[in-house]
Amino acid sequence: MQFLTTVLLDGLVYASYLFIVSLGLTITFGVMKILNVAHGSFYAWGAYLASIAIIYLGENEYNSMFYYFSIFMAAIVAGLFFGFIIERFILRKMYGEDIHLIVLATFGIFWILEDLILIVFGADPLMPYYPAMELGGLEIAGVYQGVYSLTLSGLAVVVAFICWYFLKKTKWGKLLQSVIFDREVSVSMGINVTNVYLITFIIGGMLGALGGAYVAPTISISPGFAIDVVVMSFAVVVIGGMGSVPGALIGSLMVGMIRAFAVHQAPVLELFIIYAVMAIVLIIKPQGLFAPPKPRKI
């Protein structure tokens, strides 16, 4: 029982982290059909901005509520600023180009933003540990868990709910689904696809930045730390189906749980097993588990 509870908790925390990070990636792909390698830069910038703010607040002993405020502000600022600049001045000029060229462009943007981090923040690691330290640990089934890390699951649930509500219950969500289904028909129906693209890209960026900002208090932030996150997010999105929100959720849960089980029972298989699952899913269902249906055009 202790083992099972611990594996489930570990899997859930890791899955929550993956879900928040990969959600933005899958939404961007779903709407814009762009595989955004620069998604990792949003993650990194969110983490850096939040770290700077948290360290300042912690050193000056501000009320801890400000930590969480600064995490969300960092995500909003990073997503809005870089999302707007990248979409408006780079990607918008490339729509209609070969998809591989756009991927290469986002790859280039990723490295430019990585270098910008080095210039702005330097190479010294940042450790904004204050929120995680403050919340401390909690004994569950005989094993101490970090309370801050557990709250990640709460955040994932809130983000998933907001996403579901936005897509299913709001006018904007329906417009978005329409663009996901068929861009040309959406344009002919009078939807301002240009604006939809811009807003989608910014929201995707904000979600990536939120992942980085929220995780920041538990890790050491230094240039280049986001590269692995991009790779892992791609694995999740590919398993779930590119462009599918439920797919990102299921993909994250699958990866999180399988990884947790492997770490506990056969640590040497940890990395192998994630990509093995991805390969199996791709063999059985090349589009991923929940890929949105493609309209047949005549």
Binding site: A123, V215, T218, Q265, E270, L271
Partner: protein, 444 residues
């Protein structure tokens, strides 16, 4: 004269001028100035805690030697009289990229020597290429024993002793200091969390072998953790280690990985439940300051960094004081390790020049460095293994404790293990030596 003949003559003449010009500049350059590539992580998770302090350590010593302001025995100006121009390069990007950069340094930038490299993976990739290109290369920090145990190297030296000593010293510290008279029953006792590549795997393997010799009744866990390098998230691994009955947890984590692990483990009370021994985690002690947990058994891979910062050897006092003045921080282990490589190179160049009576060739410098003994910051280091190319030195471990009065972290119960106690004799493979019960070891 026909136009075609004129053209041929003039092109031959121009080529001649170019060759003469090149030879002239090279010979003048070789005597007055030398170019050396210094490679460490300048970006990525290994940059801040390792690569940048390493670069700074090298930079400080190079500048002092060039100016002739370093204390004895390094007070003679220059490297065989020449000023060293360092070209600093980033070690990030993996072995393939580093091999390409190494070739560029040698074949296009015509460097006189190469110094540095932190990652064992990069050292394993660069070693054969350095021999192939016949380029004097001094590795500073990487620790895999495979570098010389798989093959002797003609042009590669390493001033840092390998991981065998770090791991054996850790095991010996636990056996002698921690469990002295305390361990009454046999049982599952130790496990580990190490990065999944050459350094991490070798470190744990030798720790485990060491424990079998020093504490034969203790049993290792069947599930030691090997997360990938730069994973960043260790929540699941910490849970698995917490559920494991083993009391001692060995880690050779370095860079941001160690700091992330400490942060995540600390809030979960991990350091209170387990005895954690870290072979190279000193950087986080300074970065986290009073937040760093007390009671961690800490190694610094030699008599460097945290474990010797109060040592009064004049060379150490000079280094610590100049480093703090220039970089506003304590020198870390890698700062010392890179500085040490520069010092070994300087001594070899000076020795070769004295013997040759002129500016030495590379072969003369290699001969001088082979088997050389040189003064480090608080101890003496000898190139006595790997055919005279691999240095060995003492290793120390202590227990972390935050000194509230001084407002600084420090270590207590510091123990130092001589090289003769934790490294096999020359020509003997580490694993065979340990499995045979470490014959001939001298630990007193």
């Amino acid at each position: 004269m026909k136009f075609g003949t004129m053209k041929t003559v003039s092109s031959v003449f121009l080529t001649f001028l170019f060759v003469i010009g090149t030879l002239f500049t090279t010979s003048v350059y070789a005597k007055d100035r030398i170019k050396v590539g210094v490679v460490s992580f300048l970006t990525g998770p290994a940059g801040g805690p390792f690569g940048i302090p390493a670069k700074q350590g090298a930079e400080l010593v190079i500048d002092a030697i060039n100016a002739g302001t370093m204390p004895a025995p390094y007070n003679k100006k220059g490297f065989a009289g020449a000023t060293l121009d360092a070209i600093y390069s980033d070690e990030s990007g993996g072995g393939t990229k580093q091999v390409a950069l190494f070739r560029d340094f040698v074949q296009k930038q015509n460097v006189d020597a190469m110094i540095g490299y932190i990652s064992s993976g990069n050292c394993m990739a660069i070693g054969p290429v350095a021999d192939e290109l016949k380029m004097l290369t001094v590795f500073s920090t990487c620790g895999t024993p495979r570098l010389y145990e798989e093959k002797l190297r003609s042009h590669v030296f390493r001033t840092q002793a390998n991981a065998v000593g770090d791991s054996l010293a850790a095991a010996k510290y636990i056996a002698d200091e921690y469990f002295k008279g305390k361990m009454t029953t046999a049982g599952k006792m130790y496990t580990g969390i190490n990065q999944n590549y050459a350094w991490g795997q070798d470190s744990y393997k030798f720790f485990e072998l060491g424990m079998k010799v020093y504490m034969p009744s203790a049993v290792g866990s069947s599930k030691p953790q090997f997360p990938k390098l730069f994973a960043g998230q260790y929540g699941t691994e910490i849970s698995a280690l917490s559920l494991d009955k083993a009391k001692v947890v060995h880690s050779s984590f370095w860079n941001g990985d160690w700091e992330a692990f400490v942060l995540q483990a600390m809030v979960r009370g991990f350091f209170k439940q387990k005895i954690v021994v870290s072979s190279v985690g000193g950087s986080a002690v300074d970065t986290l300051g009073k937040k760093f947990p007390d009671g961690v058994i800490m190694g610094t891979r030699g008599l460097v960094g945290l474990n010797v910062r109060d040592n009064k050897d004049p060379l150490n006092t000079w280094f610590v004081s100049e480093y703090k003045k220039r970089y506003k921080a304590w020198p870390l282990g890698p700062s010392y390790q890179y500085a040490r490589s520069v010092m070994a190179y300087k001594l070899a160049m000076d020795k070769a020049a004295a013997s040759a009576g002129k500016f030495p060739t590379q072969d003369q410098a290699i001969s001088a460095m082979k088997g050389m003994k040189f003064k480090s910051f608080v101890d003496t280091i000898e190139f006595t293994r790997g055919g005279g190319h691999q240095a060995v030195h003492a290793i120390s471990y202590g227990i972390t404790k935050y000194n509230k009065a001084k407002g600084e972290p420090e270590v207590e119960n510091l123990k130092t293990y001589a090289a003769s106690c934790i490294y096999p004799p020359a020509g003997v493979k580490s694993e065979d030596w340990i499995n045979n019960g470490m014959p001939g070891r001298k630990c007193e």
